[in-house]
């Protein structure tokens, strides 16, 4: 008897496949609770080829992040100017001051999305909506640009999820 002739497979092959896939992978990805707080870390980073100024209070980046940025961007050095860590309940909005010229407004839109508004010198520049699941699986969302005053340098706002 051929397998496809078995009663269980007659007309239900696709349905059976979906069922098996859901059975195998469904429990491995538990649903995110709708009231779960989202913890984010925002870092303002300066990218330059120059050495760190002696009097600057910039922090060295952790090696993993510095190597990631170094593999994508051209600059030799990356210094952390500031860092903010915040928790967001669903629907909650918080303003994060990253520097005198750079502000973020982060909103936990729904259980799947966050909204990041970038302000430069008080002006709303960009709004980015990102998947929370993408952040929670360890991915980075980076808003970046060249320095208006010093075009050889660049700034980076790196958003990551912290557990």
């Amino acid at each position: 008897m051929r397998l496809r002739n078995l009663p269980v497979f007659r007309g239900h092959a696709l349905a059976g496949l979906v069922f098996l896939v859901a059975l195998l992978f469904g429990p491995a990805t538990p649903a995110r609770a709708s009231d779960q707080e989202l913890k984010l870390r925002a870092q303002l980073i300066w990218g330059t080829d120059e050495a760190k100024p002696k009097d600057a209070a910039y922090k060295d980046l952790e090696p993993d992040l510095r190597q990631k940025l170094g593999r994508i961007f051209k600059w030799k050095n990356y210094w952390q100017i500031s860092e903010q860590r915040c928790g967001f309940k669903p629907g909650e909005t918080k303003k994060l001051k990253m520097s005198a010229k750079c502000d973020l407004e982060v909103r936990h839109l729904d259980e799947a999305t966050i909204e990041i508004k970038l302000f430069g010198e008080g002006k709303l520049t960009r709004t980015v909506r990102q998947s929370i699941r993408v952040l929670e699986r360890g991915e980075l969302t980076v808003l970046a640009g060249d320095d208006k005053d010093k075009h050889d340098d660049a700034w980076f706002v790196v958003i990551t999820s912290t557990k």
Binding site: P7, R10, A22, I72, T125, L140
Partner: protein
């Protein structure tokens, strides 16, 4: 006895003559001893042929041999009743579609079962500042680059 009379005798024995012609042949057989002898010989010959002819079967070709097997299988399949599925299989016929429907319902209702889009949605609020975005799969990084003009 003429040749035509001999043929008529043979046709009479085979039952091929009309009633009138048959009556003429019967009269001839009653009157003519040679006709009687011929009728007796023809009857004997027919009897011998019926009883003693050797059966000579035509040899079967290879194609005919296999076609006989195929016809026999088809005939057996057509008459054989369909096998009744076991209780377990009958039970699974309902479980599988119901389970699949439940899995689909879970997939569409639980966001965690869906693959999250990796590309961020971006709104530009300053027209004098261009931007582009890219994603590095190897580094797990989505970059929105803002260029001041």
């Amino acid at each position: 006895m003429t040749h035509k009379a001999e043929l008529n005798l043979q046709a009479w024995l085979d039952g091929e003559l009309s009633a009138r012609a048959a009556a003429e042949v019967e009269r001839l057989v009653a009157a003519d001893p040679a006709a009687r002898d011929l009728v007796a010989e023809l009857r004997w010959t027919r009897q011998v042929l019926r009883a003693g002819e050797v059966d000579r079967p035509v040899p079967e070709s290879r194609e005919f041999y296999w076609s006989k097997i195929e016809r026999a299988i088809r005939a057996a399949e057509a008459t054989a009743p369909a096998p009744r599925p076991s209780a377990w299989w009958r039970w699974m016929r309902w479980v599988v579609p119901i389970g699949a429907a439940a899995a689909l319902a879970m997939f569409f209702t639980l966001p965690s079962l869906r693959v999250a889009p990796s590309v961020a949605e971006i709104e530009n609020h300053l027209e004098d500042m261009g931007s582009f975005s890219f994603r590095s799969e190897s580094e797990g990084m989505t970059v929105i680059w803002i260029a001041s003009n």
